[in-house]
């Protein structure tokens, strides 16, 4: 990591120049941290509305929303060649449908417009989508391949917004054959750190389920997700890829691994109506797409990414076990990671002050 110089626009760059969207998000921060450790990456620019939530050494944070003008300026100014778009909202409980649409659809549209603008240096675009795009119905195959069509049209806002995003991405790839476009569809993520509606549900004293259904779930470990994104970045593998651990687990089995807690059953009819009070009471928020999953489950075929050379470290069951180990540890010792607070002045001091001795190893 000889390149500590953030203002790398000067001179001819040999290494990658990467733009990461959603730097403050779970994924953006982790991707940036990993990229910092990669000597072939010269420049990392992180975009977000909020401040970074993890400590970063050489990633340049730019506070920006999803508007077009700033994006194309950044891409041009920093001569970005690789965009890692992690900032797609797949958890609809985080925000209103309107904001979600704005971030996912309009944000991606602007990002792709910037990437495809005349004179753009972008050659690689990596987008982190979700297996939510397959839906979850009774008519589904057990395993969705990347080209298996949905069994029914989308019913929820988050699913249709992700489908719109993928549509734009397909158009972009077609219009820009010189750009390697990778689309990763991530399954249900669990791990030691991440929080999702499913993770929240599994940490309740009673695990929610739908009476009469024991669907099979697939999971992917959070570290495997980060590794998969870095894998397609390093090896430049264009295409659509499912990212999910091996094997399916019945929901009852997931509950058994997660402390063998009792279930509480939602009625099989009017499930959404029954789940609504739980949200209002602040117990658990189970949006439509999660309720569908609790009824029918979903499996995706993960072989395409494996054939490209990627190796998962965890199976579905292994991922759930790892998640539960993390929960056990937290219960005993509390959160292990100290909270990081971003302070622009402190960051600026460490990165730019002449008083700081950088690059101790070089002569």
């Amino acid at each position: 990591m000889a390149t500590g110089a953030p203002e790398g626009v000067t001179g001819i760059a040999k290494g990658r120049r990467v733009l990461v969207t959603g730097l403050a998000s779970f994924w953006g921060g982790r991707i940036a941290q990993q990229l910092e450790a990669d000597p072939t990456v010269d420049v990392i620019v992180g975009l977000d509305r909020r401040e970074p939530t993890v400590p970063l050494d050489r990633t340049e944070f730019v506070r920006a929303d999803e508007s077009y003008s700033i994006l194309s300026r950044i891409v041009k100014a920093a001569q970005i060649d690789t965009i890692v778009h992690t900032f797609l909202i797949v958890d609809s409980t985080m925000m209103s449908n309107r904001t979600l649409h704005e971030i996912n659809v309009i944000g991606t549209m602007n990002l792709l417009a910037a990437a495809g603008a005349a004179g753009s240096t972008v050659r690689t675009v990596i987008v982190k989508s979700s297996t939510l795009v397959y839906g979850s119905t009774a008519r589904d195959p057990v395993w969705f391949r990347e080209d298996t069509p949905r069994s029914a049209p989308p019913r929820t806002r988050v699913e249709s917004s992700l489908l719109e995003v993928e549509g734009y991405l397909r158009d972009f790839a077609e219009d820009n054959p010189h750009v390697a476009v990778s689309l990763l569809r991530i399954s249900n993520v669990v791990g030691r750190a991440i929080t999702t509606p499913l993770v929240a549900a599994l940490q309740l004293p009673l695990v929610p389920a739908i009476a009469g259904f024991d669907p099979r779930f697939q999971f992917v470990e959070e570290g495997d997700v980060v590794r998969s994104l870095l894998f397609v970045l390093r090896h430049q593998v264009p295409g659509v890829f499912n990212v999910a651990g091996d094997g399916l687990l019945p929901w009852t089995e997931v509950g058994a691994i997660c402390g063998d807690k009792p279930f509480f059953y939602l009625p099989p009819v009017l499930t959404g109506v029954a789940a609504a009070p739980l949200r209002r009471l602040g117990l658990v928020d189970l949006p439509e797409e999660i309720l569908d999953l609790l009824r029918y489950g979903r499996g995706v075929d993960n072989r395409r990414l494996k054939q490209a050379g990627f190796r998962y470290e965890h199976t579905s069951a292994g991922a759930v076990e790892r998640f539960w180990e993390g929960v056990r540890l937290r219960r005993t010792v509390g959160t292990s990671e100290p909270d990081f607070v971003y302070d622009p002045e402190v960051e600026s001091f460490f990165r730019r002050s002449p008083a700081v001795v950088r690059d101790l190893t070089s002569s």
Binding site: T137, R139, P141, G212, R216, E253
Partner: protein, 310 residues
């Protein structure tokens, strides 16, 4: 499992490729037995009691074993099922079993699956309409018993990649939907989708002619408006319901004698894994197989002395 392509199953997870060989050994020890197509087990070799034996298709060998124990007396004493030509079902490798379908709540599917699993000690997966999957409890049990949604991807994976036995009723709901007057008159074999699946997977089709299911639960009349109301493909009034009452009549069968004849397997000399197959060829093959089953049925009915004694 001689298919060399099965090497790729290793990527899916251990346990899948060994399915048939595992079933060959009669489980002797332990209550929970590691059996076919199990999802990748936990890395520890010892059995984790938190993990069930539900495989990727939702089938549980443990629950099948239980069901076989419960169903055995019905199979032996009520239906007195008798097979001929069982040796025509391959002992290993994928094959698509195709049979006629009858009786208001068809009794042929459990008889066929039970018989083959007992005799050949191979699991059988039954492809069926997804309407079962949406019904609470029923859907879950159906899938634990080996029921799989009839999706071409599911069929291909079972047959080609995992070399399993797959049972399908090409008549679909039109078979059980017919009345007693139309018994043993085969309905249209769909659009021949089963032939296309077998061609793509490169597996033989094994036709099975079943006599007995029609009389085990004969439909006297159908009431289409009620079917429409409940969203079911047909709404029968059966002889069983007149005898045992409207609800009990749905699960109580008349003691018709079951005879099952396995016909010569049909192979198609076409290349597997083609994106398309000639539609006319598919329809032609499907019709030939339908004819064969129909003729076998007529032959079996000619020899049948009594509905009840066979």
């Amino acid at each position: 499992m001689p298919d060399p392509k099965l090497g790729s199953a290793e990527q899916v997870g251990p346990g899948i490729a060994e399915t048939a060989s595992v079933l060959d050994e009669v489980p002797t020890s332990g209550a929970l037995v590691h059996l076919p197509g199990m999802a990748p087990a936990s890395p520890t070799p010892t059995h984790d009691p938190r993990r069930s034996d539900v495989d990727e298709w939702g089938r549980s060998e443990h629950m099948r074993e239980l069901a076989r124990r419960l169903y055995g007396p019905i199979y032996r004493n009520l239906f007195r099922a008798e097979w001929s030509g069982l040796e025509k079902i391959p002992a290993e490798g994928g094959a698509l079993l195709v049979a006629n379908h009858a009786g208001a709540v068809p009794s042929d599917a459990p008889v066929i699956i039970h018989g083959i699993e007992e005799e050949l000690r191979r699991p059988v997966y039954g492809l069926a309409d997804s309407m079962f999957k949406g019904v609470p409890v029923v859907g879950t049990l159906w899938s634990r018993m080996g029921g799989v949604v009839a999706h071409p991807d599911n069929a291909y994976r079972l047959l080609k990649e995992q070399g399993q036995l797959v049972l399908v009723f090409p008549e679909g709901s039109k078979g059980p939907g017919k009345t007693y007057q139309e018994r043993y008159q085969l309905r249209r074999f769909g659009r021949g989708g089963f032939v296309e699946i077998a061609m793509r997977a490169g597996v033989p089709v094994v036709p099975i002619a079943v006599v007995g299911a029609e009389e085990s639960m004969p439909t006297l009349v159908n009431i289409p408006p009620l079917a429409k109301l409940f969203g079911s493909p047909y709404f029968p009034i059966t002889a069983n319901q007149l005898l045992f009452g409207p609800l009990l009549g749905l699960v109580t069968y008349l003691p018709a004698k079951f005879r099952l004849r396995v016909l010569d397997s049909v192979t198609f000399d076409v290349e597997a894994d083609q994106p398309r197959y000639s539609k006319s060829r598919i329809m032609e093959e499907a019709e030939t197989i339908r004819q064969q089953i129909q003729e076998a049925l007529h032959d079996m009915l000619r020899q049948r002395q009594s509905v009840w004694r066979g």
